[in-house]
C-alpha cells in the first residue's frame, strides 16, 4: 500500500459516482468497481441459476455458501489489518464463537437425550446418570437470544480485550502475538469437557434450525442465498465505511498514530471500534457457516485458521474490500479443487502463492491490477 503510485486511490469519491466519470479513468474504474460488483451479482443470482440448469451440483453451492462466510470474516480482518494496520491473529476465534452461539441453539432443537440434553453435550458428559442441562444453555433455546449472542459475545470480547490492549499501546507484532495467544487459550478452554461446550467433538450433529431440516437441499440453497446476501451487505457496509471520514481515520492510524494523537484524536477508540467491528463480522460469518457446515468445534479456531484469513486478505489485496472477497473465495475454491484432484500438493501450492504474493505483488491481486491500470492510463495519457 505504501508504495502505491498516485491516482490509485479513489476512496474520496463514492463508488457509484465513480462509474460515470468518463475517459480512461472511467474505464479503469469500470474494471475496478463494476467487475467485482458483477461478480457478486453472479454469486447471488447466477449460482442458483447454474444449479437449476444442472451446471453445478448442490454440494458445490453449499460449499460456496460456506466460502461466502469466510469472505465476510476476511472483510472484517481487512478493515482491521488492511486499513488500520493492526495484524490480528484471532479472527477465526470470533468466527467460532459466533458459530457456537448458533450451534447451541440448533443443538437445543434436538435430538435431545436424558433430561432434555442435546446429544452433542450428552455424549461427552462424564455424569450421564444425574446430569441436567447447564443453566447457561437454557437461554440459547431461544433463537432471538442466540442471534443476539452471535453479535454480542465476539463484540464484547473484542471490545474489552481491544480497549485494554490499545490503551496500553500494545501494537505491531506484540499485538499479533497476544491475539494469537488469546485464540490458543480459547481453543484449549473450548476443548475441555467440563466447560460443558461439548469438548473437542464440538456441537454436532446439527439437524434443524427454526423448524427447517438442515439436510434438505432447498434449505441448503436458501442458506447459501442468505450467506451470499450477507456477503453483499458486508461489502456495501465496508465500501461505505471506508468512504467516510472514519475510513480516512483508519488509514491515518496506520500511517502515523502519533500524528493523529497530536491532532487531538484518540486512536485507542478508533482501533477498539474497528477491532470490535471486525470481530462482529466474524461472529456473524461463523453463525451463517455453522448450519451449513453441520458442526462447529474447537478445531475451527486453532491458530492456523486465523493465519489463513491473513493469507486470503494478503493474496486478494490489503485495504481493498474486493481483495478480501477475492482472496477468501479464490483460495478456498482452489483448495477444494486441488484437494480433490491431488491432495498432497496443496500445502506447497498455498505456500507458493503466499510467498509469490509477498515477493512480487505486495499489494495483492487487486493492488497489482490497479497498478497495471494506472500504468495503462499514464501511457495513454502521454501522447
Amino acid at each position: 500500500m505504501s508504495d502505491m503510485p498516485s491516482g490509485m486511490r479513489y476512496a474520496t469519491v463514492p463508488p457509484l459516482l465513480r462509474l460515470y466519470r468518463g475517459g480512461w479513468r472511467g474505464a479503469a474504474l469500470w474494471t475496478d468497481q463494476a467487475l467485482p460488483g458483477l461478480a457478486l451479482f453472479a454469486l447471488l443470482l447466477g449460482v442458483p441459476m447454474a444449479l437449476a440448469l444442472g451446471w453445478c451440483d448442490e454440494a458445490f453451492v453449499s460449499k460456496l455458501g460456506r466460502f461466502c462466510c469466510f469472505a465476510i470474516m476476511a472483510i472484517g480482518l481487512d478493515l482491521v489489518w488492511g486499513y488500520t494496520g493492526i495484524l490480528s491473529l484471532c479472527q477465526a476465534m470470533f468466527f467460532t464463537i459466533g458459530g457456537y452461539a448458533v450451534g447451541m441453539y440448533i443443538a437445543m432443537q434436538g435430538p435431545l437425550l436424558g433430561n432434555g440434553i442435546p446429544e452433542a453435550l450428552y455424549v461427552v458428559s462424564s455424569e450421564i446418570g444425574g446430569m441436567t442441562l447447564p443453566a447457561f444453555w437454557q437461554p440459547f433455546g431461544h433463537l432471538g437470544f442466540a442471534l443476539l449472542m452471535v453479535v454480542l459475545l465476539p463484540g464484547l470480547l473484542a471490545f474489552i480485550f481491544g480497549y485494554f490492549a490499545f490503551r496500553s499501546r500494545i501494537r505491531g507484532v506484540y499485538f499479533s502475538i497476544i491475539t494469537q495467544a488469546l485464540t490458543i487459550a480459547m481453543w484449549l478452554l473450548f476443548c475441555r469437557n467440563d466447560l460443558q461446550l461439548c469438548g473437542t467433538n464440538g456441537i454436532t450433529p446439527l439437524k434443524t434450525f427454526a423448524g427447517f431440516d438442515l439436510t434438505d437441499p432447498v434449505v441448503k440453497i436458501a442458506l447459501y442465498e442468505v450467506s451470499a446476501l450477507a456477503l453483499v451487505g458486508t461489502v456495501l457496509l465496508a465500501l461505505w465505511l471506508t468512504g467516510t471520514r472514519f475510513g480516512r481515520l483508519l488509514l491515518a492510524v496506520r500511517d502515523s498514530e502519533m500524528r493523529l494523537r497530536f491532532a487531538g484524536y484518540q486512536p485507542v477508540w478508533i482501533k477498539t471500534a474497528v477491532f470490535t467491528l471486525g470481530a462482529v463480522l466474524a461472529g456473524i460469518a461463523g453463525a451463517l457457516y455453522t448450519p451449513q457446515n453441520g458442526n462447529i468445534n474447537p478445531a475451527d479456531m486453532i491458530a492456523v485458521k486465523s493465519i489463513l484469513v491473513v493469507v486470503w486478505v494478503a493474496v486478494g489485496g490489503r485495504s481493498t474490500v474486493f481483495g478480501a472477497v477475492l482472496g477468501a473465495l479464490g483460495i478456498n475454491l482452489l483448495y477444494s479443487y486441488l484437494t480433490s484432484v491431488m491432495p498432497s500438493t496443496w500445502p506447497f501450492v498455498l505456500g507458493g502463492i503466499f510467498v509469490g504474493v509477498v515477493l512480487f505483488m505486495p499489494t495483492g491481486v487487486i493492488g497489482m491490477w490497479r497498478r497495471l491500470i494506472a500504468k495503462a492510463q499514464t501511457v495513454k495519457a502521454v501522447p
Binding site: R248, M258, A263, G264
Partner: protein, 257 residues
C-alpha cells in the same frame, strides 16, 4: 477546540522548575520559561540542547520529572497528550509527519477542528466554508495542484508546508513548530518564515530552528538552550553577542549555525 482561556497576556505559557530526566541524564533543566500570548518565540541551541524535549513536555508527549506546565489558566502537567491537544496545542514534528496514504486535502480535512469522537466521523462532511478555507490555505502554500494526490508523493518541502497548513487549519492557538525550515530551499524558507510571521498575534508560537537566516527573518525574541538549560534570552542580535552563547556554539565547533 481552541478554548484556552484566562491567564494574563504575559503568563500564557509557563514552565516552572521543569526537569526531564532520562536514565539519569538531565535532558531538560529549566528554571522558568514563559511565552506571552500572541508571541512568536524562537528556541535555538546546539544539538542535544533539549529543544525537542521542551516541546515534548509542553505537548504532553513526555511527562516532566518535576515542575509545572501551565497553559492559560490550566495546569496541564499531568494531562494526557490528546487532552492537551484538545485544549488547542498543535504540533509540527521535526521530521514532517503527515498521513501518507491520504490525499493532501484529506490530511487537511482530518486537521479541521471538532469531530474528534469516533461516531462523529461516520456521517456528514466538511462545510463549504471549511472547504474554501482549506483550498485557500493550499493555494497559499502552493499545494493546491497536489490537492488530490496522496501525501506520499509530496516533496520534502511540500510535506513541511502541508504539516504547517494542517496546524493553521486546526484552530490550535499554541503552536509548537519543530524545525520548519529543515531541508528547504531558500525560496521555500522565505515562504515558511512569512507564513509563521503571519500567524503571530492570533496564535502563540514556539519555533525551534537551526537556520540563522530563517531565525533572522522571523524577527522575534530568541531563547537559547544549551544542555537543557536556558543560556540566554532576547533579540537575535543580543543573544548572538552573548559570550556564553558564543562559547556554547564555538566551543562545540560552531555546528549548524
Amino acid at each position: 477546540m481552541s478554548d484556552i482561556t484566562g491567564g494574563t497576556r504575559a503568563d500564557f505559557l509557563q514552565l516552572t522548575e521543569i526537569t526531564a530526566v532520562f536514565d539519569g541524564f538531565k535532558a531538560l533543566d529549566v528554571n522558568y520559561f514563559g511565552v506571552d500570548r500572541g508571541d512568536l518565540r524562537v528556541v535555538i541551541g546546539p544539538n542535544g540542547a533539549g529543544k525537542t524535549t521542551l516541546c515534548d513536555v509542553i505537548s504532553g508527549k513526555t511527562k516532566p520529572t518535576s515542575g509545572r506546565v501551565v497553559i492559560g489558566e490550566h495546569d496541564v502537567t499531568t494531562w494526557r497528550d490528546a487532552d492537551i491537544s484538545a485544549l488547542g496545542v498543535g504540533r509540527k514534528f521535526q521530521t514532517p509527519s503527515v498521513f501518507d496514504s491520504l490525499t493532501v486535502y484529506e490530511n487537511m480535512e482530518l486537521a479541521l477542528p471538532g469531530r474528534r469522537r469516533v461516531w462523529q466521523n461516520l456521517f456528514g462532511s466538511e462545510t463549504a466554508a471549511q472547504r474554501e478555507q482549506i483550498d485557500a490555505l493550499l493555494t497559499r502554500t502552493h499545494l493546491i495542484e497536489r490537492r488530490n494526490h496522496p501525501a506520499l508523493d509530496l516533496s520534502h518541502g511540500q510535506r513541511q508546508w502541508l504539516e504547517i497548513s494542517m496546524l493553521m487549519v486546526s484552530g490550535a492557538t499554541l503552536l509548537l513548530v519543530d524545525e520548519p525550515a529543515a531541508g528547504l530551499t531558500d525560496h521555500e524558507t522565505a515562504l515558511t518564515a512569512e507564513l509563521l510571521s503571519e500567524l503571530k498575534g492570533d496564535h502563540t508560537l514556539i519555533v525551534i530552528e537551526h537556520d540563522m537566516e530563517f531565525v533572522r527573518r522571523l524577527n522575534s525574541r530568541v531563547t537559547v538552550l544549551c544542555e537543557g538549560r536556558v543560556l540566554s534570552d532576547g533579540t537575535l542580535d543580543h543573544v548572538s553577542q552573548d559570550p556564553k552563547v558564543m562559547e556554547a556554539y564555538l566551543g562545540r565547533g560552531k555546528e549548524r549555525t
